[in-house]
Symmetry: C3
Subunit: 346 residues, 3 copies
């Protein structure tokens, strides 16, 4: 990222931390320890990156107090108790500065229904569509080709990338981010069987999304059948995440790429689904439950903690032998049980 | 859902069932047992929801005969042998009434190639694209930004949401539903190896989809290499489902979210792939095969039934010990075998 | 595929191989052995398809030398040492002939920012968007509704289908193919925790994609946090593949449908991830590593070879018994160990 030159002292003024060394150090951008040059600022979270820090050519470093005296010998510093958090805030601050230079505009090709309502300073990309009765809050960014359906509501200062679909009547809170290709408000998957055929159950509920939710690219979040699908504030979803109808996701829960939650399941607050973790339908997960990558939850989990179920990877030939044995595992147990039986007295 | 007030008797007139109580009961919409108010109708499938039914404030209930006498004490009723199916039909009927109030229009920004053919009453959303030679059947709804490729065919009374892509020459039958972001007719994944590089095999087949098929959001259905990928009538696919080239999916088969079928596999009729179930390539699944969630099919299945292969979830520390042991399972069996050997006579 | 009639000799002239029989044989297209008719050419890779070959009605066959004398009795031939590779090249050649008849055009509804640069012969579909500072190389095809973000770069002779999103500053090499719905350059998934909330880390890196890369439908490739996400030349990704931020994918590696690679992982050259294979973050896979379908990689793999970790599918009732036992596997091993202990002398 390059966005004009800043002085190190400007960062400290905006974001705090202790300045050590030359506040006039000129900076062009943030960079990683390995790729930073003299006009970059990089960050070090702790002693395990000390060697990389020594090799780093950054003009300025964000460091914890424990590394300050050593780091001061090689560059100017911002000293802070949580360099990673500082880096997060700095990345936001710097990008916001850049974006401030791009004034919000309504692209002439965007289509806004006469009965839609746009707040002040809404940006509309090329071919964006705001349908009848939809409302977009002040300062929100609606990317090219993004569609906000009839009666849908997008809060203030949201950022929807290109090619997002928000279905009719669905609602997003303030400061939400949605990446390209995500679909909010597709129909839940509901059918009644009738003599070998499937009769569609129209999905009449909505998707309700709280403040500060981020949704990755190509996710799908289905509307509820009768009641609503609910995603509480602060939830973060990575790419290709699937949330089925009538799911409830508690505040500040995180789901990594390809995670999925089946219908009517209730996920607590502050949970983690690692990548590709799956939760089947009609379950309850307590607050603070963490599911490992690629693990499958088939029963409710009422106790916080970390849960895993991954078949261990092995060389194919070893796996094959173990897998064959696994299919006989129950019998193997029976055989062990037989061996354990005391020999009958004769 | 709110769509003007109806009288309970109107529902019975349209959809059948036995009316018990006041046919003039005014109804604003359908609701679940827990959220229904006096102007809603809710449904009860059986005795296990009787307690929720008693607590329900709905103005009218759809109940099976076994609950009719009890339910009649609290509200007006529609009595029917299959309340779930009745609810499905009612949801359709009610939504159709609403939609009838929105006349089909061709949005002025939609692009229709001069050589495309549109049936009567086709709705085109903003920026929809109908390419050369494409045909869209009477009464079909083409959402905003949806693209119907050259020579493609969409049957009568289909409903394609926003941001759908139908590739050139692909065909959908009548009354199909496709949700946002789905891609029908992307290239199958085919390459010939040549000295460590991959030479693309152009995918020259089509995707052929029967009547009454529903496809969820962000699905991908690849065109065949030479022959066609085929999805028979009545198939229902949930979100993020992947169907590879030359797959055949038999009529009325259902696949839940994130299911995937690799190339040239043949799935029978009336099968179920639960969420995230995967079937590898070049297999055959008989009619009536049901695969559990997150299970992987690596061999053909010629016998109907339910099949499962999920690593059981456990607390992480327990999983770790079991997983390590699993990698030695074959050896463990050898050890049991050794123990079973009768002691050599000495 | 039908594209006007060609003579068999024209194919041989263009693509080599030995012509046997009547070079004037008229051909309308390629077809599979089972569906080919007298005006089609089909291919046979080896003896295991000899029976199908005998039943085939194709007017011409592509065969290996070992089948030439037998095949010559039923049709005209192209004899070549690698019929599959020949078929790949033929499919390309034939489609290229067809496409040559469709001149590149800039659809009047496409939006090109005044500061974007388009090479010669660029095709722009309906409602395509080329943002400020973006460059599209000569002869590239940009499908309907595809968005090329600000400062992004698409090389020469690329083919981007409809509804593709290329994020700002991302770069694709020459001759890349991207299928519909794919998102290149969505934000990586990065947050710093702060008192139970997640603070976004802006993703400031890019996605850099080499020459001859193919990306399937509805894939997501995240931009790097500070450094770039890199996909080297010749990589082929199938549909619904997820590549997280700062991943490196070595040249000519292939990933089948639904594969995913978590953040900062480095995949070697000439690797294969079969369908739904997953690799967790911060790992290294050597060149020539092959991961079986639906297997999960949780540790770095430094030795080439084939690796697998799939729970074997079974009838549900058998699976249930084995799964229960699996959760006690560690204890079972302890029991076997106890049995192995020599009886204490008394």
């Amino acid at each position: 990222m390059t966005a004009g030159t800043l002085r190190l002292a400007e960062l400290v003024e905006a974001l705090g931390g202790e300045l050590v060394g030359d506040g006039a150090t000129p900076l062009q951008g943030l960079a990683s320890l390995t790729s930073a040059g003299p006009d970059h600022i990089a960050f070090v979270t702790g002693a395990k990156h000390a060697a990389a820090m020594r090799a780093c050519r950054a003009g300025a470093l964000i460091v914890p107090p424990s590394l300050a005296s050593e780091a001061a010998q090689q560059s100017a510093l911002i000293v802070t108790t949580d360099p990673y958090l500082y880096y997060a805030r700095l990345s936001q601050w710097w990008l916001a500065r850049q974006r401030a230079q791009e004034p919000a505009t309504r692209h002439p090709t965007a289509y806004v229904h006469p009965e839609a309502q746009l707040g002040e300073g809404v940006h509309l990309g090329a071919f964006a569509v705001i349908e009848s009765g939809a409302r977009v809050g002040a300062g929100s960014f609606i990317g090219a080709h993004t569609v906000i359906g009839a009666q849908a509501k997008v809060g203030d200062r949201c950022r929807l990338a290109a090619h997002v679909t928000v279905g009719e009547r669905c609602e997003l809170g303030a400061r939400c981010i949605v990446h390209s290709g995500s679909v909010i408000g597709s129909d839940g998957f509901g059918f009644a069987p009738e003599q070998g055929r499937w009769v569609k159950i129209e999905q009449l509920g909505r998707v309700l999304i709280g403040d500060d939710v981020e949704i990755g690219a190509n996710c799908t979040i289905d509307r509820g059948a009768l009641d609503d699908t609910v995603i509480e504030e602060g939830v973060k979803l990575d790419n290709l995440v699937h949330i089925a109808h009538n799911v409830f996701v508690g505040a500040h829960t995180v789901m990594a790429g390809c995670a999925a939650v089946a219908g009517s399941t209730r996920i607590g607050k502050h949970c983690t689904l690692a990548g590709d973790a799956k939760v089947i339908g009609h379950l309850t997960l307590a607050d603070g439950v963490h599911i490992s990558a690629c693990s499958v939850v088939t029963k409710s989990i009422l106790k916080p903690g970390m849960y895993t179920g991954i078949f261990p990877l092995d060389e194919h030939s070893s796996w094959e032998k173990n897998a064959v044995t696994l299919r006989q595992l129950f019998k193997l147990r029976e055989r062990v049980r037989a061996l354990e039986r005391p020999p009958e007295k004769t």
